[in-house]
């Protein structure tokens, strides 16, 4: 097939071109060549001169004839050109109007130019000046001269040989070819100069020349030149031995070295090309300008059944190969190609093995940029198409999942300007996706999270392999901030992404759950740490690595002092063996947890505690790497703690992100897609072929949910309504699962809207976890909500984040009000105990104290607080403060204190009373003893004895009086059987006045009374009379010597008292000096006055015995006022 390929004969052609150009410039002929489209291919300078003379325009290659000719001229020549293009030779004369008196007349000849197939490919136009007398050009006088000139300048040489190839004559031009002068070669044999390898061939050729007369025979062979190098020559020879004028063999030869080198290179190139073309799967077909097949390769041959109705064959027109119906299309296509365009076309062949081909039609240009053919390449793109189709489908699926999913995809540049937003973005933030394109993504992030986001994203932007995940708050369409998880990946290198790929997921639900858990954790810690549980971590050798502070609380042992020691060192000797063997058994088993106990542990004082331990092996957990002992007193709390631990584990697993399953069914095409996860979630096998048997899906839906599911699916498949519902599914073993199903018609893409898609998410775990969470939360809530003690959880800055109902009740706030408060609002920050508490919290130690807490009404409430610091899973520190209102306790304490003081005072009073009575009894007794000692027993008639007897009597009476007084006092003090009755102060006064009337009139005293404001009292009559009598008689007794006594008695009510004032203008008393003894027993303050110092003591005793009190105001020299407070009934 090599010979059918069109070969670029560069070297040879260029050489020829140069000659041709030179010829054109020098020729005296006026000619021009047109191609079939009337484009000017070539023209001689003479033709241009004629043309310019008559049109004023110069010719130009590649211009169309009509562009260089006036319309008139064009019309005149067109019929002749027509004929020429039809293959006729045309000759006609043309005469131009005279120019400056000169007449121009030309003969015009048009000759068709034919290719090897005799097809007209152009027209040669010649012009001959019929009137010009001038000879053409040149100064050759004779043909001999011309011949010589031609010969001498020729690269051809000419020689004559005899029948044996002996050189008889050689032209001088041989020097141009071989470097020898003619005389050097004459007489030698031509064969001697031929390359040894070519000699046989040359001999054969020479034989033929000798035999054949009349015809010329050519040969190409190598010959040695004068420099000793072999060069290729072409020798065209003719036997003219029988020509009587010549009688020799005439040989014309010339140097074809350049041509040979080019040909050789060409052959090599052709061989390589051929190899290449025939080994490729691509088809090549080359057509000539008449659209006949010039060449094709093996692949084209093999593809023939797909392309053509018959076997491919050289020289057939392309139109013979194709169906009639395609002809019109193909003509249109070739028109484009011949206009210089490259055209591609896809053809599809249905059948058993469908094939799709992509054909590219390229114009073939020659050096003049003329199109001389068409190059067709055809590629089988069936597989690629199929792959494309698959990509398209998966993309559609991706888009569908994307649209339905909770994840939004963003592509942003290095400044986080949004370049692309997935449709599901609307699901996450509620914005239409277009709104975000080109906007700064950071603008949507919560200001508090922005610095972190900038750091993370710029980190990703800088680092090509980096991936970052952060939880941030983003503003949604409603202007609210919601929590999203943003995963950013540097994909600048990816040609499709060229940016940061950010996936966003709404995690507000998860965040809320986390908050609840974290809060629960805090509450849990608060409750557990304030409880009695001890948490210890030991290594495999039972050496204590860590123990909670409760270790000290429970056992009184500083845990850190035991670090590195065997934990069983504190176990009672009697229990040691059992505990150890259980522990050893546990360690060697695969068990995760074991309960040991109850067993006894020794505390700091040497006393034993019954302890029960839950031992958990966390050696494989790198965060702990030890065995954890949860030890506690045997209480209900044990059970609670275990439940909580289990719940927390379940919750953690519930947080794992559920996988999505996807199913798609095209009702029209009958095609389906179902992801592996879809089967997995439903617990089905792939060979259940859901698309063939969708009932199988319905059958595993829980019977209670099945009708609802069927109904939703039915509505969704006809495009009435999409659904997003939870359903229970029942597995083979009866295990239930909960799935979130989202179904609807796929509205993406341009096709008919009949693709039903169903997305499933297994939410069993999260459902379960939610349930557990609710249970756990319920338990915590129950503890937290129903605790008698107040519980506040606050940040280290004092912001209250949680407060239970008890504390709200104690402090008078609502829970909502509480969580907007700062703890400082509840505290007196200047109080020493509060300062101490704040310092303790900073040091992270537990703190127990009594402090005052401000009630909403501003009053301070005494409280006993236990404050501990706690750290949640994220390392945030919180203060948990348990607050107990001790108002009642304090009140009782104060009451007890006052009672104790009262008792103490009564006791002191009694003691004092006993001292005083002893003193007063002793004094007369001492007198009696002294008198007795002075009595003259030897002489009873001693005069002085009589005096002593008198004094004896006096002292005895004094003793008796003292005893009587004491009895009166004791009666009052015994406070028993005191009869009460309603009394009127006015009546009592009248009664008392009778007893002092004499004294009063003696002293010219006046008593004024006013009981209008208060007259009634329920009291003991004798006591009240005694009080009135004593106070009135005192007022008279201690009257001023300077004036007559005036006594004013009045009563009024004050608070719960009835107050009676006894005001006098008497001596008064220095209260600074005597105030404390005023109402003491046997206290006398005035000399030379009657009185034993008993009256005021009796008054006070009588008042106190009835629950009242007495006060006195006095100024020496002016008078006194006694105020008696009686308890109002």
């Amino acid at each position: 097939m090599n010979n059918t390929l069109i070969a670029p004969k560069h070297v040879a052609r260029e050489t020829r071109e140069e000659f041709f150009e030179a010829y054109l410039a020098d020729t005296t002929d006026g000619f021009m060549i047109l191609d079939t489209s009337l484009r000017i291919i070539h023209f001689s300078s003479k033709y241009d001169r004629y043309h310019h003379l008559h049109t004023g325009k110069h010719l130009k290659r590649d211009k169309l004839l009509q562009e260089v000719l006036p319309v008139q001229g064009m019309a005149e020549i067109l019929p002749f050109l027509q004929k020429a293009f039809e293959g006729e030779r045309v000759k006609f004369a043309i005469e131009y109007p005279p120019i400056e008196g000169t007449i121009y007349k030309y003969e015009i000849r048009y000759s068709p130019l034919l290719d090897s197939e005799d097809v007209v490919i152009g027209v040669k136009m010649q012009v001959f000046d019929l009137l010009s007398q001038a000879p053409p050009t040149g100064n050759f006088r004779t043909s001999e001269d011309l011949f010589k000139t031609l010969i001498l300048n020729s690269t051809d040489a000419f020689q004559l040989t005899d029948i044996d190839f002996e050189l008889q004559y050689i032209s001088e031009t041989v020097i141009n070819v071989l470097g020898y002068s003619a005389s050097e070669l004459v007489g030698s044999n031509g064969l001697d100069h031929v390359h040894p390898d070519d000699r046989d061939q040359v001999r054969e050729w020479f034989k033929k020349i000798r035999l054949e007369e009349k015809i010329s025979l050519a040969a190409e062979y190598r010959i040695k030149n004068k420099a000793g190098n072999y060069i290729w020559i072409e020798n065209v020879s003719r036997n003219m031995l029988h020509n009587p004028n010549v009688k020799a063999i005439v040989m014309n030869f010339r140097n074809i070295q350049a041509k040979k080198i080019a040909d050789f290179a060409l052959i090599q190139a052709e061989q390589r090309l051929s190899l290449l073309l025939n080994n490729t799967e691509e088809s090549f077909i080359i057509l000539n300008s008449r659209l006949r097949i010039v060449a094709y390769n093996r692949a084209a041959q093999e593809h023939t059944p797909y392309f053509f109705k018959q076997e491919i064959q050289s020289n057939l027109s392309i139109f013979d190969m194709i169906e009639v119906s395609e002809v019109e299309n193909m003509i249109g296509l070739f028109e484009k190609v011949f206009a210089g365009e490259e055209v591609s076309k896809e053809t599809e062949f249905a059948g058993k093995k469908p094939h799709i081909f992509n054909h590219i039609f390229r114009p073939l240009f020659n050096d003049q940029r003329d199109i001389f053919g068409v190059f067709i390449t055809s590629t089988d793109i069936t597989k690629r198409k199929f792959a494309e189709q698959q990509v398209k489908e998966s993309e559609t699926r991706f888009k569908t999942i994307n649209r339905e999913s909770f994840d939004a995809i963003l592509i942003a540049d290095e400044h986080v300007n949004v370049q692309y937003v997935s449709p599901s973005f609307t699901n996450v933030l509620g914005f239409p996706t277009q709104e975000l394109i080109g906007r700064r993504g950071l603008d949507y992030i919560h200001p508090e999270d922005t610095p972190l986001a900038i750091k993370k994203f710029s980190d990703v932007a800088k680092n090509p392999v980096h991936e970052q995940s952060i939880d941030i708050r983003m503003r949604n369409a409603a202007g609210e901030y919601i929590w999203v998880e943003a995963k950013a990946k540097n994909m600048f290198d990816n040609q499709y992404v060229k940016g940061i790929l950010i996936s966003l997921r709404d995690i507000s639900g998860r965040k809320k759950a986390e908050e609840i858990i974290s809060l629960s954790e805090l509450r849990f810690k608060g409750l557990v740490q304030s409880g009695s549980d001890m948490i210890s971590i030991v290594d495999k050798d039972c050496l204590l690595q860590y123990s909670s502070p409760t270790f000290q609380t429970v056992l009184g042992i500083d845990a850190s002092s035991k670090y590195g020691q065997n934990i069983f060192s504190i176990v009672h000797a009697d229990d040691l063996q059992e505990v150890k063997s259980k522990f050893d058994q546990f360690i060697t088993s695969a068990e995760k947890q074991v309960h040991i106990g109850p067993y006894r542990c020794c505390d700091d004082d040497g006393t034993f505690h019954w302890i029960e331990s839950t031992i958990t092996n966390f050696t494989s957990d790198p965060s702990i790497n030890g065995i954890v002992f949860n030890s506690r007193d045997i209480t209900e709390r044990k059970k609670l703690t275990e439940d909580l631990a289990a719940n927390t584990e379940r919750l953690k697993s519930a947080q794992k992100i559920a996988k999505l399953g996807y199913f798609e069914h095209d009702a029209i095409s009958g095609t389906s897609f179902c992801s592996d996860q879809f089967y997995e979630i439903l617990g089905l096998r792939k060979d259940d072929n859901i698309h063939l048997n969708f009932e199988i899906v319905e059958s595993i839906i829980h019977p209670d949910d099945r009708e609802r599911f069927k109904k939703e699916v039915a509505l969704a498949t006809i495009g009435v309504k999409e659904f997003n519902e939870e359903y229970r599914i029942v597995g083979e073993n009866g295990a239930e699962k909960v799935v979130l199903a989202m179904g609807g018609i796929n509205k993406l893409g341009a096709g008919p809207v009949n693709k039903f898609s169903l997305t499933l998410q297994d939410i069993t775990e999260s459902k379960k976890a939610m349930l557990e969470l609710q249970t756990m939360e319920g338990r915590f809530s129950s503890l937290f909500e129903n605790s008698i003690d107040g519980v506040i959880i606050s940040t280290p800055r004092g912001q209250i984040i949680s407060a239970n109902p008890a504390i709200c009740k104690i402090l008078g706030y609502t829970q909502n009000e509480m969580v907007h408060l700062n703890a400082s609002a509840l505290l007196d920050l200047k109080s020493a105990s509060v300062i101490e508490m704040i310092n303790a919290q900073k040091k992270a130690g537990p703190f127990i104290a009594e402090i005052s807490i401000r009630h909403k009404n501003g009053c301070f409430i005494p409280a006993e607080i236990t404050s501990i610091n706690m750290t949640d899973a994220k390392g945030n520190v919180y203060h948990s403060t348990i607050i107990r209102d001790i108002t009642e306790k304090k009140k009782i304490e104060i009451e007890q204190q006052s009672l104790t003081q009262e008792l103490l005072k009564n006791n002191q009073d009694l003691q004092q009373f006993s001292f005083i009575t002893s003193h007063n009894l002793r004094a007369p007794v001492a007198n009696l003893i002294s008198l007795l000692s002075l009595y003259n027993k030897q002489n009873h008639a001693d005069e002085f004895n009589g005096v002593l007897i008198d004094k004896f009597e006096e002292a005895t009476l004094q003793l008796n009086q003292t005893l009587n007084d004491l009895i009166d006092v004791l009666v009052i003090k015994s406070n028993t059987n005191i009869e009460k009755q309603t009394l009127h102060f006015s009546d009592i006064f009248i009664e008392v006045k009778k007893n002092i009337d004499n004294l009063l009139s003696e002293q010219k005293g006046v008593i004024e009374t006013d009981f209008t404001a208060a007259d009634n009292i329920v009291y003991n009559k004798i006591h009240l009379e005694s009080i009135f009598l004593n106070l009135i008689s005192n007022a008279i007794r201690y009257r001023s010597p300077e004036r007559n006594p005036v006594i004013k008695i009045s009563a009024h009510k004050k608070d719960n008292w009835v107050v009676v004032n006894f005001e006098d203008n008497g001596l008064g008393i220095d209260l600074k000096r005597y105030g404390d003894r005023m109402f003491g027993l046997y206290q006398r303050f005035h000399t030379s006055k009657e009185g034993k110092g008993l009256g005021l003591y009796m008054v006070k005793s009588q008042i106190i015995a009835m629950g009242g009190k007495i006060e006195v105001d006095s100024e020496p020299g002016k008078g006194s006022t006694f105020k008696v407070y009686f308890k109002e009934n």
């Binding site: 002893s918 002793r922 001492a926 002294s930 008198l931 002292a955 000399t1087």
Partner: protein, 129 residues
């Protein structure tokens, strides 16, 4: 038994005054006994006497007296005691049983001893010159 020229008795009970006067004189303990019925009178007396001749060498002081009791007397006496050359020795003479009184008596540097009533010959014997 020591013999003192002037003894002051601050006492409000007449029988006690009479008995004490008799006992001191009978046993030659005191040549002259002056009695004052309360602290105020005693202070006034002490301020009024001629220091060289009539200053008491011994004062027997009762506690429970009207107007100015024994304690108030002692406080008042502290302010004038430097006026006296003889610096009388003060003995509290009381029938009190209150231990606080004994303690209180010791707090006064001017008080030499505390005597429970009645005043006896045995006690007078113990008081040396």
């Amino acid at each position: 038994m020591a013999n003192f020229k002037n003894v002051l008795l601050v006492e409000d009970d007449p029988i006690t005054i009479m008995v004490c006067d008799r006992i001191m004189k009978m046993h030659g303990f005191a040549e002259a006994v002056k009695s004052c019925e309360n602290g105020k009178i005693a202070i006034d007396y002490l301020k009024s006497i001629n220091p060289a001749d009539e200053e008491p060498e011994i004062i027997f002081l009762d506690i429970n007296m009207p107007v100015m009791n024994g304690w108030d007397f002692l406080e008042e006496y502290d302010t004038i005691k430097n006026n006296y050359l003889k610096s009388p020795r003060i003995f509290i003479l009381s029938s009190t049983v209150d231990p606080e009184d004994y303690k209180k008596a010791k707090s006064f540097s001017t008080v030499e001893d505390f005597i429970s009533k009645p005043l006896t010959k045995d006690f007078l014997d113990k008081i040396e010159l």
